[in-house]
Symmetry: C2
Subunit: 151 residues, 2 copies
DNA sequence: CTCTGATTATCAGTAGAGCTGATTATCAGC
DNA sequence: GCTGATAATCAGCTCTACTGATAATCAGAG
């Protein structure tokens, strides 16, 4: 018995767009659009950056990249086509298991990632600018806890 | 003591998926999927609920509904087709301006909205369950401020 | 009144994302 | 050498959101 957020007054329902859940959905979409926006001039999209990041340091099969990024296998084919065409990645047959492709990052790919990461960090900085440093830490903590526990 | 965010150490770049912005995008998508999930059994989607909410109390032209909800005009046509077919809304020509449709909510539409709002409130409750009441208030405050200032 | 330009709702067509299923090549076990 | 499973790929489907065109209507100038 703790009618905290809901129909507290009976005769008056809260508007959807004042609810935390709705705000989260909208804010997430907004942030996503911003990030896509800063990546667009680099000819990249979020998924490319995620895949490149996963490739850094070690080589992976496409299957492993799908596992790590949550992308569909057919989407991964397209993403790697893009990256390969730009010279950011290379596919080669695995000698151990010739069904697999070993996907490796090139120097250009590494540089592109650094540039993208910098652009994303700047965009994030701008996005979170209305909050103080302490509030950003709070937000990050809350969001991360929600994501790891309910997600 | 929380050295978990930015490139504070120089030699080590933070992973994208530990960044607040990325987490926000993912969490928003997750929440959206949850909400779509609870609306699906009712034969509705988020946009339908938003449009219905906007129609409550007053009648609107489709153009005004687009303005209020941010939906595209052609999408609005489809949404109203759905609502009309289910008996939740009615279109009629405006007598003042015969180009316009006056869209009104039916009793069934009102009942459907209440049911949907209840389902959404429950889903939100479950989604935010990992947080204490105070933390939810914090989160709501932070998210709302971000949305109103940077959005 | 008539002509012009804007506005409302609608529809048709387009482009992209994300998926399923089929295909080819390869592997591992028997 | 079979058999079944797996990796990458391709073709095709669906769904969404948009652009552009269209018919009806309005508002204003002359």
């Amino acid at each position: 018995m703790c009618p905290r957020e809901g129909p507290r007054f009976g005769f008056m329902e809260p508007r959807l767009d004042t609810q935390t859940g709705y705000l989260l959905v909208k804010l997430g979409a907004l942030a996503g659009a911003r990030f896509d926006g800063v990546l667009a001039p680099l000819g990249l999209r979020g998924r490319h950056v995620r895949v490149i990041e996963e490739m850094r340091g070690a080589s992976h099969s496409q299957q492993e990249l799908c596992q790590a990024t949550g992308l569909d296998r057919t989407t991964m084919v397209a993403v790697l086509d893009d990256l390969e065409q730009r010279g950011y990645a290379r596919r080669s047959r695995s000698t151990a298991d010739r069904r697999k492709h070993v996907v490796t990052l090139t120097g250009a790919g590494e540089r592109a990632f650094k540039e993208a990461a910098r652009a994303l960090a700047d965009a994030q900085e701008a996005f979170l600018a209305p909050l103080s440093a302490g509030e950003r830490d709070q937000l990050r903590d809350l969001v991360e806890r929600l994501r790891t526990t309910t997600g």
